[in-house]
C-alpha cells in the first residue's frame, strides 16, 4: 500500500516516521504530548516488503524480542542455581532423590555449558548489536542536523511547553533569552526569532557505549573457551627450587617458605596439642624466560619480572597469570652437602667439597685424594636379590659410591660408600659396608652449616586467564556508558515568536521536573513568572 510520507515542509520521510525529520511536525494525529523517543525517526529496519534477511534483522532489532530473550535467559540461569552444577548422575539421585534425578535428566546440572543456554547468550549479543545499530544511527543523524525553527505543533505538544505574549523586539528577546540559557551551559542556536538550546547531548550515547561494553564482555567470555586462554595447573616447588609455570614461559622460584603455627593459647580445647598452621607463605620470585626456552640440554636464560609473598587468598598476579598458595608439604629433603675427607690415622682433614643431590660432578680432587663418583641413589634400598636400588627420585635417603685414590689406598682406587644423612649411615651400616677403607679414611660432614635442606614443598595453583583484561575493559566501558546515560540528562528547549506570541517547548530524556524548573528559571530571567508545574503538558513520566 502506498503511503504518502512527504511532510508539508517538503521533506520526504521514511515510512513509520513519527515526527517529520526536518520541521518536527507530528505525522500521527493525537493530542497527547509527543512521543520523542529516538526523536521520532523511523528505525532502520522498518521497511516495506522485507526480504528474509530483513526479517531476521528486524526480529533481532525488536526490543520486545530482546526483553523476551533476556527473561528466558534469566529464568534458565535461575534454574541452574537450584542444585550444584557439574556433578554426575549418581550424585543428584543420592543427594536430592527424584527431583535431583529429574534435574540431571533435564540437563540442568551442566546448564551454563548447554547448547541452548549458550544459544540464548549468542542471541542476546546479536540483539544488542542490531538493536543498538538500528537506533543509534538514525538518532545520530537526527540529532546532528536539527532544524532550529520547528513546526508549531512540535513545540506546543512537548511535555514542557509555554505559550504567551511578549512585547518589544522579538529578535532581541530571543538573543537575551539565549544568553541566560548559556549561563546554564546550554549550546544556543538562533535563527531570527527561533531558538534551539541544547545541553548534554552526549548522554544520549550512554546506552550504546554501555552496549559496546557488554558486547566486549560477551566476546571475552567466549574467548575463554579458546584452548590455552584459560588453564589451571598445580605445581610443587621446593624451597630454593625454580620451576617452570606450566603452560607459560614463566618460571617461579620458591625463595623461602615459612609456616607459622597457632600456639596453644589460641586453639580451642578440642584442637589443643595439634599442629595447626596459622599462616604459610611462599616468598616467590617470578622469572620470564628470555632465551633458550624449552631447548633440551640448555639451561633457559631467565629474567626476574616480579617478587611477591604468596599467601592463601593473596595470589601473585602477573600479566593474566595468577599463582595461588594452596598447600604445602613439610617433608624435608636434602639439597646438598659439603663433606670433608679425614685421614683416620693422622687426623688430617681435607675439603670440604660440594656435593649437590641433583646432577653432582663425577670426579673430585680433594687434598691428596681423588674421588670418582660411580653411582648414586636418591632413596637407597636393597632389592630382593640384594642389589642396591633407588626407591624414588627424591633425595630421601641419598647414597653415593665413590672410587677413592690417594695416600695409603690401593693404586686402582678403593670403593667407598657414603650416606650424607646420619640416620641412613647407621641404618645401612656404612662402616661395615666400607670395611677396610673405613679405618683409613672417613667422608663426613663437619657441622650442620655444611648441610643444605629444603624443608618444605609449596603447592601453587597456576591460573592463566588471558581473557580477564578484556573482561575488565568490557566492564569499564559498560560502567562508563551507564554513568553517561544515568548521571547527565539531555535537555533541549525550542522556541519561536510569531507576531508577539511566544511558543516554547522543552524536552528531556529524563527528569522532566528538572527540565520544567530550568525552563521556569529562564522565563523568570525574562520577566515572565510562571510556576514550573504550570508548564507541564500532561502525559506520563513527569
Amino acid at each position: 500500500m502506498f503511503q504518502n510520507t512527504k511532510c508539508e515542509c517538503g521533506h520526504q520521510n521514511p515510512p513509520d516516521t513519527l515526527l517529520c525529520e526536518s520541521c518536527g511536525k507530528p505525522l500521527v494525529e493525537s493530542d497527547e504530548p509527543l512521543e520523542m523517543r529516538y526523536d521520532g525517526v523511523a528505525r532502520r529496519s522498518q521497511k516495506r516488503n522485507p526480504n528474509p534477511l530483513d526479517r531476521v534483522w528486524s526480529f533481532f532489532s525488536s526490543v520486545r524480542i530482546a526483553v523476551i530473550i533476556i527473561i528466558i535467559t534469566l529464568i534458565g540461569a535461575a534454574l541452574g542455581t537450584i542444585y550444584p552444577q557439574g556433578n554426575n548422575a549418581a550424585y543428584y539421585k543420592e543427594t536430592y532423590g527424584w527431583s535431583g534425578e529429574l534435574y540431571h535428566k533435564l540437563g540442568l546440572s551442566s546448564m551454563y555449558d548447554s547448547w541452548w543456554f549458550v544459544c540464548l547468550l549468542v542471541m542476546i549479543g546479536t540483539s544488542l548489536v542490531i538493536c543498538s545499530l538500528d537506533r543509534v544511527l538514525p538518532l545520530y543523524r537526527a540529532l546532528s542536523k536539527q532544524q532550529i525553527r520547528k513546526h508549531l505543533q512540535f513545540i506546543t505538544r512537548q511535555k514542557t511547553s509555554y505559550v504567551g505574549t511578549i512585547e518589544g523586539d522579538a529578535e532581541q528577546w530571543v538573543q537575551s533569552f539565549g544568553n541566560h540559557l548559556k549561563r546554564r551551559r546550554y549550546k544556543v542556536h538562533i535563527d531570527g526569532t527561533a531558538l534551539l538550546a541544547e545541553k548534554n547531548r552526549f548522554s544520549r550515547w550512554g546506552p550504546y557505549i554501555n552496549h559496546i561494553g557488554l558486547i566486549i564482555l560477551l566476546l571475552a567470555l567466549l574467548a575463554r573457551t579458546i584452548p590455552h586462554w584459560t588453564e589451571e595447573n598445580t605445581i610443587a616447588v621446593r624451597d630454593g627450587e625454580t620451576v617452570q609455570v606450566t603452560g607459560t614461559d614463566y618460571y617461579v622460584k620458591n625463595d623461602k617458605f615459612t609456616v607459622e603455627y597457632y600456639n596453644e593459647a589460641e586453639l580451642p580445647d578440642m584442637l589443643k596439642q595439634q599442629e595447626r598452621p596459622k599462616l604459610y607463605e611462599t616468598k616467590a620470585i617470578l622469572y620470564e624466560c628470555v632465551s633458550s626456552c624449552g631447548e633440551p640440554g640448555i639451561e633457559p636464560e631467565l629474567k626476574e619480572v616480579k617478587q611477591y609473598d604468596i599467601t592463601v587468598n593473596h595470589p601473585m598476579s602477573y600479566k593474566g597469570v595468577k599463582l595461588y598458595q594452596i598447600g604445602y608439604d613439610d617433608e624435608p629433603l636434602l639439597q646438598s652437602v659439603r663433606p670433608i675427607i679425614e685421614d683416620v690415622k693422622t687426623g688430617q682433614q681435607y675439603g670440604p667439597f660440594d656435593l649437590p643431590m641433583k646432577n653432582p660432578k663425577t670426579s673430585f680432587e680433594v687434598g691428596p685424594y681423588s674421588l670418582e663418583l660411580k653411582a648414586n641413589y636418591m632413596e637407597f634400598a636393597l632389592n630382593e636379590e640384594g642389589s642396591p636400588v633407588t626407591k624414588s627420585r627424591d633425595p630421601k635417603a641419598p647414597a653415593f659410591i665413590f672410587i677413592v685414590k690417594g695416600p695409603g689406598l690401593d693404586e686402582n682406587g678403593e670403593p667407598y660408600m657414603y650416606f650424607p644423612l646420619e640416620k641412613d649411615k647407621e641404618r645401612f651400616s656404612q662402616d661395615k659396608i666400607n670395611q677396610a677403607i673405613a679405618s683409613k679414611i672417613q667422608i663426613r660432614v663437619d657441622g650442620m652449616d655444611n648441610v643444605k635442606f629444603s624443608s618444605y614443598t609449596s603447592y601453587l595453583l597456576i591460573r592463566v586467564d588471558r581473557a580477564l583484561p578484556f573482561v575488565w575493559v568490557g566492564l569499564g566501558i559498560c560502567m562508563l556508558g551507564l554513568l553517561m546515560g544515568a548521571y547527565w540528562h539531555h535537555r533541549r528547549i525550542w522556541l519561536r515568536i510569531d507576531e508577539g506570541t511566544l511558543s516554547l517547548g522543552a524536552h528531556t530524556n529524563k527528569n522532566h521536573f528538572g527540565m520544567r524548573s530550568e525552563t521556569a528559571w529562564a522565563l523568570e530571567q525574562m520577566g515572565i513568572t510562571v510556576e514550573s508545574d504550570k508548564l507541564d503538558n500532561g502525559g506520563y513520566n513527569s
Binding site: 534477511l53 617452570q244 653411582a375 636418591m378
Partner: protein
C-alpha cells in the same frame, strides 16, 4: 548510508553466525582438557639422548613410535626395559622407533643403568619433569603408542610383557 545497509547487515549476521556457531559448537563437542588421549595428537617434545643428540617427536612422522616413560626407581619400568630392547631389535629394520624418556633422574644414574643393560634404543632425558607433565603422567611406567600420522593409538599404564608390546606394535605398523 542506505547504500551500505545491505552489506553491513550481511557482515554482521555472518559474524554472529560464525561466533555463535563457534560458541554453540563448543558446547556440543567434548571439551579438550589438553591431556593426551587415544585418537588425539601426541604432544610434541624435543629432548636430548645420552649421546647429546636431539630427538623431536614430530621428526618421526611416518614412523610407528613407542614413547615410554621410565625411571630406575620404578621396578616394573626396570623389568620392561629389556622387553623394549627385544622389540627394538625385532622391528628396527622397519619403520619403527622406541623413545624411552627418563623421568628427570641424575645423569650418572641413567647412564649407569643403560650401560649395565646394554640398551641401544634412544634414551631421552627430560629435565625438571616438563615433558612428563605435558603428557599428564600420574603413574609409572606409562607407554604411548604413536601412529605414523602422529596420533595416539593406545596408552598403556603399568609394566608391559613382550606380548603386550608386540601386539600393539604390529597394529601400529599396519596402520
Amino acid at each position: 548510508m542506505g547504500k551500505n545497509r545491505k552489506p553491513i547487515q550481511i557482515v554482521i549476521l555472518l559474524g554472529v553466525l560464525l561466533l555463535g556457531g563457534y560458541a554453540v559448537g563448543k558446547t556440543l563437542f567434548a571439551s579438550d582438557d589438553g591431556r593426551p588421549a587415544v585418537g588425539k595428537e601426541a604432544p610434541n617434545f624435543t629432548l636430548l639422548d645420552l649421546n647429546g643428540q636431539t630427538h623431536q617427536l614430530s621428526d618421526y612422522k611416518g614412523k610407528a613410535v613407542v614413547v615410554n616413560f621410565w625411571g630406575t626407581f620404578c621396578p616394573p619400568c626396570v623389568t620392561e626395559m629389556p622387553e623394549f630392547q627385544r622389540m627394538y631389535d625385532k622391528y628396527k629394520n622397519q619403520s619403527f622407533e622406541v623413545l624411552a624418556i627418563n623421568l628427570s633422574e641424575n645423569d650418572l644414574t641413567v647412564s649407569n643403568f643403560v650401560a649395565e643393560r646394554s640398551l641401544t634404543y634412544p634414551i631421552l632425558r627430560d629435565a625438571n619433569r616438563v615433558i612428563e607433565r605435558r603428557y599428564g603422567l600420574s603413574q609409572y611406567p606409562t607407554t604411548f603408542f604413536v601412529n605414523p600420522d602422529g596420533t595416539i593409538q593406545d596408552i598403556f599404564v603399568g609394566g608391559m610383557s613382550e606380548q603386550d608390546i608386540d601386539s600393539r606394535v604390529e597394529q601400529l605398523l599396519q596402520s
